[in-house]
């Protein structure tokens, strides 16, 4: 019995859908999700994976099928049928990808919003309208010299000054005082990044940590405690805000398990907020090429129970005060990077695992 081709199409369609649905959720390509944000991002990825698997199978299947079915048989020197096009078909395969990418865009937008990408406080601090109104006349025509000095608050500078209030932070941030850039191009806030999640706008985060990137280490200072460390400890289940900048070149703060990444740029303040939700110790990786030992610029993020975290703070406070005195007593500019970093890290560049082993001792 000959099965009509429409039935075949239907069967293949169902099979494709099932395979895609299954693989999209069982690909095992992502590390543990250890923050609230990570779960949302994974949902997005799995959805994209479902669509991708489908498209992949259709295209590769189509190619392989054509290669087998339509290969030229020996002795056949005829041409194929002169088909120039088929408008409904072309519209169909324009429309389907268009709908898919539209869907992915909407979903991404939603995830981005839910992880705090549109931190509303940013919009309030630098509203487009008010800025435009304060510029009398044609701003475009103004030359450099007759532009009055800006009276707009420089949010980057404010944040930076704020961080410098903390002596421990000031000690590790650039002594050359790289000037903090005015707000990012366009409308923006403090190098706009990932802010508070919707519903938590305006609330201070449970914990703020200032992070400085420098060749080839991350330095963390916990404001008002005097704690300076080379690894990040955070309590589980509380919203953490990281304020970061860099002293020399661009670095990038990446914790794969949190699915978060942000460049730390000299001259700018950037921030990300996240809520860790799984106990453990995760690698913090510098993701932006920052010199020969870029690959060695790793550290640990330890997510621990609030009690454990408090105990760690106590312990550090004692230890850090010594380190801090030491760091303040000498002018870091006169030290070689190695000497400067010695209190925080050891033997950078010998092996990526060095830091890890050190911290786990």
């Amino acid at each position: 019995m000959k099965i009509p081709s429409s039935i075949w199409t239907l069967l293949i369609g169902i099979l494709l859908t099932l395979v895609s649905l299954w693989y999209g959720q069982n690909h095992g390509l992502l590390p543990t999700a250890a923050s609230d944000e990570a779960l949302l991002v994974d949902g997005l990825f799995n959805t994209m994976m479902i669509a991708s698997t489908g498209i992949f199978l259709i295209v590769e299947g189509g190619l392989i099928y054509s290669a087998i079915k339509y290969r030229r048989r020996a002795g056949d020197d005829q041409d194929g049928p002169p088909v120039h096009g088929n408008v409904p078909l072309e519209i169909l395969w324009t429309a389907i990808p268009a709908i898919i990418v539209l869907g992915i865009s909407v979903y991404s937008f939603d995830v981005y919003n839910s992880i705090g990408g549109f931190s509303p406080h940013a919009v309030h601090e630098a509203p487009i309208a008010s800025q435009a109104m304060k510029m009398p006349g044609a701003a475009i025509a103004a030359t450099l010299t007759d532009t009055p000095p800006s009276t707009e608050p420089n949010l980057n500078q404010e944040k930076s000054d704020e961080a410098m209030q903390d002596p421990a932070t000031a000690a590790v941030r650039n002594v050359d005082q790289i000037p903090q850039k005015q707000n990012a191009p366009g409308v923006g806030s403090v190098a706009p990044t990932i802010g508070p999640v919707p519903g938590k706008e305006g609330q201070p985060p449970a914990l703020v940590v200032n992070v400085t990137g420098l060749q080839y280490a991350w330095l963390f200072t916990y404001p008002e405690t005097g704690i300076t460390t080379g690894e990040l400890h955070v309590p589980i289940g509380r919203e953490v805000q990281i304020n970061m900048t860099a002293n020399d070149v661009i670095h990038a703060f990446w914790v794969p398990e949190f699915r978060l990444k942000q460049d730390a740029i000299p001259g700018r303040q950037s921030e990300i907020r996240f809520t860790p939700n799984k106990e453990g110790s995760y690698a913090l990786i510098c993701a932006e090429l920052c010199g020969p030992y870029h690959g060695a610029m790793r550290s640990q993020v330890v997510v621990e129970k609030p009690e454990v975290f408090e105990a760690w703070m106590q312990e550090q406070q004692v230890a850090s005060n010594d380190t801090l005195n030491q760091a303040v007593a000498v002018n870091p500019a006169e030290l070689s990077p190695a000497e400067f970093l010695a209190p925080y890290t050891h033997d950078i560049g010998i092996q990526s695992e060095t830091l890890h082993q050190l911290h786990n001792k």
Partner: protein, 581 residues
């Protein structure tokens, strides 16, 4: 006689015996013949490809183990910086210019490019710029800030190396601008009478879209690099934060060119694939207009997606969303092409024994993986996770290797008989194909997983838990190195001793096949006659009275005086050469 035969016989130049055979040394001169220049481009860029590929294998050798044990981290950084710079600026981009040079004037029935001397100049910029870049390794101060060369890092690594890098990229950019102007003018002004845009071979459409993109975007890169050079040598602080500069501004300028650059690298090969598939599957291209206009759409959209490389460097949320959406939209015209190629293959008579078609099918099958991961990267929340990781390295190689390089190979196998008058060996071509596909997937497929699990890019050392996957990648890279050997031997041997090809071994219908192989110095004796459209395969089966292509047959259309420049004066150099004979 079918219409195709009319076209073929009408156009063969009269002085047909041993036409256009040149002395070997002519390839080392300032020759103004577009065909010589095309081959100069193709051969010299292939040599650069081998050098860049050798560097890739050194990089992979270092990455076979998690420790830094093969080269020093400094040398490692120079290696991948040079690898990427060479592959992009000295291989893919100029190889595209090479094909365009060779094929474009033939396809539109012109004698040569509009500006032959400018054309030769554009080529002769390339080898010195490349040699200078590679020589920096010998000086011991090779550039090592990555091919993106972001400040402030590029300002604190070696001045000499960085200066060489800037100079060399500026030169190469100049060369591609000169080439693009030439292609555009040639395409607009030198088409044979009656050849309208809607009868152009699709490769010409692709060349048109590419050249327009080059003209708009390359000057911005040049501006960025010149400012960077000021920062480096004159102490200005455009991008240097210690003086109040902003490194992110450099990123905008850099990517304003370098994102479109990926379309500059892929569009010509979209064109190549659109030529190869119909010829070797003996069917008209499916959806001619869709493919032609989608090239233009890609070219336009390509200009407004650059900031997707900067999602993590701190741009406002709404800008991230804007660039996410424009990037997503580019997938649509690209998808149109992929499905149109599949529509062309469907129901054809596929000459699978021919490497050109194999590589074209390989192109579609591999490129689609790069396209899919590209859409994923456009989704901001996911990009934030995988930006600057091996996921990106995997994506870009699926696009550039699985796309551009396979496209180049398809083009080589397709046009080799035209260029040399001889056939390549099919068997060794098939071996080349299989090795390439196996090596390609073995090298780059595992990198997706590496990136997602947490391996960042541009590192000489990594977490030991990634060792196994990295070993697989490394052995894949060795297979890729081996895969080029059958190709190289095949090309050299066939060029010298291969069987004679005849004028039109593939029975193709585009104009370049309507002249001798290799073509005579000025290509055609008189403006060529067009009796069929470029892809009218299988028409003998169609009923009488079906128009040959969308427009009326051009034979009856007569000269199109608007589109045709005044009849060219013979070019002085060519006239001189003819006088000598």
């Amino acid at each position: 006689m079918t219409q195709a035969q009319v076209q073929e016989t009408a156009n063969i130049p009269a002085q047909a015996e041993e036409p256009g055979i040149r002395k070997w040394w002519e390839y080392f001169t300032f020759n103004t013949d577009h065909k010589v220049i095309g081959i100069q481009y193709l051969v010299s860029t292939f040599i650069f490809y081998c050098i860049g590929g050798a560097m890739a294998d050194l990089v992979r050798t270092e990455l076979r183990t998690p420790e830094v044990d093969f080269v020093t981290p400094e040398v490692y950084n120079s290696l991948f910086t040079l690898h990427a710079t060479i592959m992009i600026f000295l291989w893919i981009v100029p190889a595209g210019a090479g094909f365009t040079n060779y094929v474009l004037p033939l396809m539109i029935g012109a004698k040569d490019m509009a500006f032959p001397r400018l054309n030769a100049l554009a080529f002769w910029i390339v080898p010195p710029a490349g040699l200078m870049l590679i020589a920096s390794l010998a000086v011991g101060d090779a550039p090592d800030a990555g091919w993106t060369s972001y400040p402030p890092l590029s300002l604190v690594t070696g001045q000499v190396g960085e200066g060489i890098w800037i100079m060399s990229v500026l030169l190469l950019g100049t060369s591609s601008i000169l080439g693009a102007i030439n292609f555009l003018v040639t395409l607009l002004k030198m088409r044979t009478p009656g050849l309208g845009f809607n009868q152009l071979p699709l490769f010409c459409w692709a060349a048109f879209a590419t050249s327009a993109l080059v003209l708009v975007s390359t000057p911005v890169l040049a501006a960025g690099l010149i400012l960077l050079a000021f920062d480096l040598f004159a102490g200005t602080t455009f991008f240097n934060p210690t003086g109040g500069g902003d490194p992110v501004v450099y990123q905008h300028m850099f990517w304003f060119y370098s994102h479109p650059a990926v379309y500059i690298m892929i569009l010509p090969f979209f064109g190549v694939i659109s030529e190869v598939i119909p010829v070797h599957s003996r069917k008209p291209i499916f959806g001619y207009k869709a493919i032609a206009y989608s090239s233009l759409a890609i070219s336009f959209l390509g200009l407004i997606v650059w900031a997707h490389h900067m999602f993590t460097s701190g741009i406002p949320g709404w800008l991230r969303m804007f660039f996410m959406i424009t990037t997503m939209i580019i997938a649509v015209p690209t998808g149109i092409k992929i499905f149109s190629w599949m529509g062309t293959l469907w129901g054809g008579k596929l000459h699978l024994e021919r490497p050109a078609l194999l590589f074209a099918i390989g192109f579609v099958g591999t490129f689609v993986i790069g396209g899919i991961s590209g859409v994923m990267l456009a989704a901001v929340p996911f990009d934030i996770h995988v930006h600057d990781t091996y996921f990106v390295v995997a994506h870009l190689h699926y696009v550039l290797f699985g796309g551009s390089v396979l496209g180049i190979y398809a083009g080589f196998y397709h046009w080799f008989p035209k260029m040399t008058g001889r056939m390549l060996n099919n068997f060794w071509g098939q071996v080349h194909f299989v090795l390439t596909i196996v090596g390609l997937n073995m090298t780059f497929l595992p990198m997706h997983k590496l990136g997602m699990l947490g391996m960042n890019r541009r590192v000489a050392q990594y977490d030991p838990k990634f060792t196994l996957l990295n070993e697989i990648c490394t052995y894949g890279a060795y297979i890729l190195a081996v895969s080029t050997l059958p190709f190289i031997v095949n090309v050299i041997w066939s060029w010298m001793y291969g069987p004679k090809a005849g004028n039109n071994p593939w029975k193709a219908l585009t104009l370049e096949w309507m002249t001798t192989s290799p073509p005579a110095i000025e290509n055609f004796d008189k403006p060529p006659v067009l009796a069929t459209g470029p892809y009218d395969y299988g028409l003998e089966k169609a009923k009488e009275g079906v128009p040959l292509s969308d427009a009326d047959p051009a034979v009856s259309a007569g000269p199109n005086s608007v589109l045709r420049a005044e009849p060219d004066e013979p070019y002085p150099s060519i006239a001189a050469e003819k006088g000598e004979r």
